[in-house]
């Protein structure tokens, strides 16, 4: 396929991710409401919230620095970039070779550092508290995430996400023990990185427990909207990474335009299941005490390492 068609597809796919991400959040919220015997809000509620926030006037603390004002855009840009790297519908992404899985983890780290810095900018006690906790979770989750991705990289002999997905999609349907370990670790990291129960609760504003919400307490209006949107894209990106690594079947191959509708249907079905699964996890589990988070995440890390070692053992 020629490059310009590839570029067009690349841009369309990242736009699709950016626009569809709030829908996934709406779906997760809906499932959670059903599971908790509440009447569910509309699945489109996140879009309404974003529209409302964009129309409001931003309120900012007197001594907010330029860093505080630019961070929402940087976060949004980082997540948009991530949306461009992950193969969602097809593995044919001309931009993907520019950033591999390690760079992808780097993008998430960049976003995390900026949001933590912005949280400390105003100088309230909550901001620092949130930043500190977020970095704690981040440094525990990042190695676990890398080890998970390395397991997949060892299996396919590449750190390009597109190559990994192509290799893994062609394998026969069998359970790889290494991937099974990695999948469990990945789900744990996903929960932690996306501020989900049991590590964090996206709906709480209780000072004893909040992590992510404490960081964005000073944001309002369009800045808050951008951050919320970036958070939605991040969840979408993580879910599609998980899908690409562990259940890649159905994704369109390079140049195979006819199978795009099928890929779209497969992706929708997988995301519906994954969203429901996330809601189920969030309903069944209770939030962990902050200092149990290291245990949770080091378990994830050890599982990922175990997965990698299993790969070496089974292979040799």
């Amino acid at each position: 396929m020629n490059l310009s068609a590839g570029m067009a597809f690349q841009i369309l796919q990242s736009l699709f991710v950016v626009l569809a991400a709030p829908l996934l959040v709406g779906w997760v919220n809906q499932c959670r409401a059903w599971l908790q015997n509440r009447s569910a809000p509309s699945i489109l509620l996140p879009y309404f919230t974003l529209a409302k926030l964009f129309h409001k006037d931003a309120v900012m603390a007197h001594d907010a620095s330029p860093l505080f004002r630019s961070t929402p855009y940087i976060l949004f840009g980082c997540m948009w970039l991530a949306a461009g790297i992950v193969p969602v519908l097809a593995t044919d992404l001309p931009f993907a070779p520019a950033a591999d899985i390690i760079a992808l983890v780097g993008v998430f780290a960049l976003a995390r550092v900026f949001s933590a810095l912005a949280a400390m900018d105003i100088g309230t006690s909550f901001g620092g508290l949130g930043a500190r906790r977020e970095m704690l979770i981040g440094f525990l989750a990042e190695p676990a995430m890398l080890m998970t991705l390395f397991t997949a990289a060892f299996i396919s002999g590449s750190t390009q996400l597109t190559t990994i997905v192509e290799t893994l999609a062609h394998r026969e349907f069998a359970i790889y023990p290494s991937l099974a370990f990695a999948a469990v670790a990945f789900v744990m990291v996903l929960l932690a990185e996306n501020a989900r129960i049991p590590i964090d609760n996206p709906t709480t504003h209780l000072e004893l427990t909040m992590v992510h919400e404490a960081m964005i307490l000073e944001y309002s209006a369009r800045h808050l909207a951008l951050i919320e949107w970036a958070v939605a894209i991040k969840l979408f990106a993580y879910m599609t990474i998980g899908i690409a690594l562990f259940v890649p079947w159905g994704i369109a191959e390079a140049g195979d335009w006819e199978s795009l509708p099928l890929a779209f249907a497969a992706l929708a079905a997988k995301l519906v299941l994954a969203g429901a699964g996330l809601a189920l996890i969030e309903t069944l589990l209770a939030k962990l005490r902050l200092f149990l988070a290291p245990e949770f995440l080091s378990t994830a890390f050890l599982l990922a390492v175990l997965g990698m070692l299993t790969h070496f053992l089974v292979r040799s």
Binding site: F54, H55, A58, V59, M60, A61, H62, D63, S65, L67, Y73, F76, G77, C78, W80, F95, P97, A98, A99, D100, I102, A103, G106, V107, A109, L110, V113, L117, M120, D121, I122, G123, T124, S125, F126, G128, L129, A131, R132, R133, M135, L136, G138, F139, P143, M147, F154, G157, S158, Q160, T163, E218, R222, L226, F291, F301, V305, M308, F312, R315
Partner: protein, 674 residues
Amino acid sequence: MDFLSSPLAGSLLVAVGWLVVAVAGLIPAGNAAFARRVAFPLGALAGVALAAFGLQAVWLPAQTMTLPLGLPDLPFHLRIDPLAGFFLMLLGSVSAGISVYSTGYFREEPSGRLALISLQYHVFLASMAFVLLADDAYLFMVAWETMALASYFLVITDHQKPATRSAGFLYLLIAHLGAIAILLCFGVLHGGRGDYTFEALRAAELTPLWATVAFLLAFFGFGAKAGMIPLHAWLPEAHPAAPSPVSALMSGIMLKTAIYGMVRVIFDLIGNVRWEWGLVVLAIGAGTTLFGVLYALMQHDLKRLLAYHSVENIGIILLGLGMSMVFIGFGHPAAGALGLIAGLYHTLNHAVFKGLLFLGAGSILHSTGLRNLNDMGGLIRIMPRTAFYFLIGALAISALPPLNGFVSEWLTFQTALQAPLLQNGVVRSLLPLFAATLALAGALTAMCFVKVYGIAFLGRPREPAHGASTPTSGDAGQMERYGMAWLAAGCFVLGLFPSSFLLMLNRVSVSLTGGGLSEEALSGSGWVWLVPTAAEQASYSPIIFFVVIVVVTLLAFLLVRHFYHGRVRFAAPWDCGYPEQTSRMQDTADAFGQPIRHVFGPLYRMDRRLPGPDDPAPSYALKIEDRHWYWLYLPVARAAEFLSSKIALLQQGRISIYLLYSFLTLIALLVFVR
């Protein structure tokens, strides 16, 4: 010989030029303006020239020269090859920024002292150049010791303070322990043949046992200078004691000469690298990395914190070198070259961003007089430019794309991912674990620099300990800013155009080990793409990455502005319904590290005093100390004191007793020597 076309002669000229500048600073001793206006700018120019010569040398075959100096029959040998060229480039380019900065930084220094600082500073630079140029053990040791002494005198610039003097003593002591090990290593390599040129040492045939002894001596000897554990204790003492440009010079460049020595001796002089050595380097490197960053997180003195980060980064460099040795030992030269390149690339990166960070710390110290993070806050409003440069350095050291720290860590990860090549199953599964250590350290570094930046530059000014508001003299001066801008630009260049440096380092690796990257990697790496092995295995394009992230961020901004509005209202921060908040309620540096203390508690030596429930005057104290002091340094110091007190019994202070000793010695000699 045409001087300008020969990098060796040019580099020699620069080194001698530095010596001349050093001495010239002494002559108009009453005129501090001379050192500031002439000596340091000339030193910076010489640095730029040296960088150009070094760059040229990387692409040329090795050149040698013999100087008719030194002892009779023992002249100085000089040689420049791609490895030396690369390090000369590092020395020249980084020192240029620091010299420019010094022009501004030392503006209030009294005249006599400034002349002395200029003398020691330039002698220090020249001695580092000679270390890199030396081609025999004799010149190498002379330059090495000159370097140690010059930097010792620079460290004790503020010698009126007892803490500075003891920091200097500790530095000198460990530097000399290292020097003895290096000397012994040269002795082992030399094997009694009477020829100390590196050429003869290279040609020496060693048994595996002696080769391993030489390796260990070199590794620990140079490691003492580089600051790897457990020989790192001098770093967090000496760096805060020295003036900031000197800290930048020591941490950015001098530690790198130790890496140079390590690479030169292990890969070049000893040769025949064994994979077991690689495992030793990896184990120490991983320990150094983790230990450095964990202790850095506990510091509240900005310069001590940066010093512990230097320890950490030396560990990262050692991880790259260690992986390289493992791969070369198992006979995979391409993967070995990749590891070596990753290590050397990180050496250059660390020099640039750590130099920048120390200079930033210097500007803070200069403007506010503060080194303790807990007294700072909100500096971004007082010193916005310094804050900008410091942010670049902080992002670079945190290994965030698209800056330079990320590139070298990415290359190290890629080296670790070559592990399936290895024949030995245990080593194969160990390598990814070292990569995991690196990942953990990278994320911890990010946490630490969020802490530094958030506490020092963001938030509101915390009141200093005694209630007075922080006095400041505004942003950094012009020359200081130029120096920082030079290094900050280096962070971008090294981060965005890594391929040209990859090709350069590939040349270093080929000349040193005979092995380079695969053909596919070299043909795949152009301006835009960085390809360490093969394009379908891994690639990274920082420039595309950077452009895309800037474009989408701007696009987001413009779209929001276009479809909505940019209205802002200003208000007081949200106070949770509790209006009496003060700036003292912000997080402090110690509080920020509290989760780490909780998770990694057993690794620290903590002494915590908590107030009781009915304490009338409650106080809270926490002291965290380096464990290495207690298991290594203090026992050794006590043993040394015990031994010397026993030996001191010989010294009675009476002439008759000393005559008796002479008499006994004579008798003994008469018995044994016929």
